[in-house]
């Protein structure tokens, strides 16, 4: 036990307590949380900054408006309903298709309009929101993900999580939905996290339920060596998100849409630490490097360069590669 603690320390692994006290508390001012916790606000800020986000079809504020959702999605085959203040992928309903008056969920189940409406009411009631306060329901464009990920994701949308520290992308992973995560891309729900080489954009190691894996648990397809198209653009996009919400410790969730290219899905003020397992390395090294490089450049591209300098300087490749 003690030797493992020592090893973890040596590997620069950041624990929750350390993350909270060492990074989130000093770098994430409370006042800015509203910008990331409220997805409507995030969307608005992103549009204003010229950053691409999934198109908003409609916003439902009150229970009496819940039945209006049918009007909002009129003429659209697929859409996503999510809580504006949700966290950890909770309360996201993905409708992939419509048959007669039924709505087909991502997992193939058919829902009646009343059931969809009930889901919206739950969202409004605050079932999925942080702290349980009344919420709003967002109805938005469903991302058609890039075909590169087809072989490694079960139903839902794979996304790319970049941890941006003080505006510098520090670490990234590709999050792939699995059967046990019910099509969601959140690691703690059983999704696969694949570490990404920050220089090349290729996946390296993978993790599922905190354990190292090499193959997708549902398909058996290898998870390493997957090239993410347009990686430099994605890094730049992630770095620019720091300008939307100047949180020092920020998780940026992006998707690669087949038609629209990279889109910002949401920002996260308390990104988890599973990214370390996916990459097989602790965060401390890169975070210290970024701290040492302060004051950081205001230009996003220059900030990406700070990160590149760190990873190029690493002689050893990530563990076991």
């Amino acid at each position: 036990m003690l030797s493992r603690i020592r090893k973890l320390k040596a590997a620069g692994v950041v624990g929750i307590n350390n993350r909270n006290r060492g990074y989130i508390m000093p770098h994430n001012p409370r006042a800015l949380y509203a910008r990331v916790d409220d997805k409507v606000e995030t969307k608005r800020l992103a549009i204003a900054a010229g950053i691409a986000v999934p198109e908003l079809y409609g916003l439902i504020h009150a229970v009496r408006e819940a039945k209006d959702f049918e009007r909002m999605v009129e003429g659209r085959k697929d859409f996503v309903i999510k809580p504006a203040h949700g966290s950890g992928g909770k309360g996201i309903l993905v409708i992939t298709d419509r048959r007669r008056d039924m709505y087909i969920k991502g997992d193939g189940h058919a829902l009646t309009a009343a059931e969809v409406q009930h889901h919206i009411e739950n969202v409004l009631g605050g079932v999925y929101s942080l702290g349980g306060q009344p919420d709003q329901a967002i109805i938005e464009y469903r991302v058609k993900f890039d075909r590169v990920f087809e072989a490694v994701s079960y139903r839902g949308v794979p996304d790319i999580r970049v941890l941006v520290y003080r505006g510098v992308p520090a670490m990234a992973m590709l999050r792939l939905p699995t059967r046990s995560s019910d099509g969601r891309a959140n690691l703690h729900q059983g999704a696969v996290g694949a570490g990404i080489d920050m220089l090349t954009g290729a996946t390296t190691l993978a993790v599922c339920k905190n354990r190292r894996i090499v193959e997708h648990p549902d398909f058996g397809t290898p998870l390493g060596g997957l090239e993410i198209p347009g990686w430099p653009a994605l890094l730049l996009l992630a770095a620019r998100c720091h300008e939307l919400a100047p949180l020092g410790y920020l998780g940026v969730d992006m998707v690669l849409d087949a038609e629209l290219g990279p889109l910002i899905l949401e920002l996260n003020a308390r990104p988890g630490l599973g990214i370390q397992i996916a990459n097989g390395r602790g965060l401390r090294g890169v975070l210290n490097h970024i701290d040492a490089a302060a004051p950081l450049p205001t230009d996003a591209a220059a900030r990406v360069a700070v990160m590149r300098a760190y990873y190029e300087g690493l002689s050893d490749p990530p563990v076991d590669l």
């Binding site: 603690i5 692994v13 624990g15 905190n210 090499v214 630490l273």
Partner: protein, 499 residues
Amino acid sequence: MYAKITRLGLPLLPHQLEQVWSVEAKIEFEASRHATVVDFDIPDKLGQFVRLDEYFISRGYGLNVGIRDHDRRAEWSTRQARGAQRLYYRLEAVPQSEDDPGEQSRHLPAPPNTPTYEEPLASAIQDVLGDVRDESANVFTFVSQTLVKLNAQAPNDNVMIIRNNLERGSEAWVDRLIYVLAGANITARRVRGVILEDRAANQHLTPWLEVHNGTRWEGFDPQTGNRGYPENFLRWSVSDEPLLRAEGGRNVNVSFSVSRYAKSPTMVARARGVANDTFLASTMLYNLPVNSQNVYRILLMVPFGALVVAFMRTIVGLPTLGTFMPILVAIAFRETELAWGIALFVLITASGLSLRFYLERLQLLLVPRLCSVLVLVVLVMTIISLVSAKLGIDKGFSIALFPIVILTMVIERMSVIWEESGPGQALKEGLGSLSVAILGYLVMKNEHLTHLVFLFPESLLILLAMFILMGRYTGYRLLEVARFKDIVEAPSSDAKPHP
């Protein structure tokens, strides 16, 4: 806290007992049909002891207690009394917990006037005092030497004259010594005390000599000249006045009996605090009404439950449903006892959960749905109580103390986690909460802790310090060590590099 232990003698452990001495003075006399007034010297400062309580038992007498000429006296009076009369005065005392710095008399007693002795006493005293003066260094050694000389086994003529056939150890003897010492300008007085001995009956007061050296009084054995007091000497009277005066009574007699018994030290400490009238005593929770005391017994333990929660969450990393829910459940366990508490908790959550899943089909709005679950929880609890009453299990009644609102929230949160992350996660968090609650219960029930924190509520500050320290802890949580295991110890056979 330290002061409370040393000054009031509060015990660190529950169930300790302290010895309490009970001294009873019995006054007997024959009344002569007239108005009777009994004037009795009762103790004020007890020397090595502290008075806890005193009782006056006297039927048909009016009582008046007061201080007269620096002397505490009780006066019983009645208009008419006939035949044998008995009055009792009972005193409860405990040893002083710290050495009393001695009676610091603020007013220096006036030195006695040198008496004019008659011959041959005058020359005898002159000789004795003259001899001693050469051999002694200060007042106390002087007195000591004098007493040794006057109590010598083989007395010379001078001593014989001074002794005057007085019985050594009697009050008259002590008075004689004071008279002699006055010849050397030494302030001395006679005190009377009870030598405490368990189950001693018909005791009389022992006279003792006290000498003042200009700063304090010191006791001397009138028969040996040894400094100090007998062991367990309870000083009863310091007055020259007679111990007892009875107007309108004959055959007056007073006798003392002593017994010892054990008393809860908290009671003793409390009484000691009151007796000394210290500020410390007023800070004790015993001053509250009993009802509030019981509330505080529980309330003061809540931070300890919180300590368990904080520890399990920040150091161990165990997930719980809500921060304070385990504490509230733990408080409920206090009433139901552990096994029953766990059974009831599981039963209520399980039935609540299944009802909650049924309600899901009705597709209700959040708050009304929560309220419906609340109703069901209350109904389930009522049913459990009724059934257990039928079966004659009285534990079922105490279920009412279960925090129903919290339970309702637990059920709701568990069902959401169940849907979102699967039953495994829901059970994990449910069990996590339950185990933290059990641990919290065990800590909060700890008798030693309850006792300590009740007597020393300020010890919660230690807890506060611990919380602040914990708030600054940035090390790994124990469960994280297992979680991050693969970063440093990935099995190489599993994690082959991709082709």
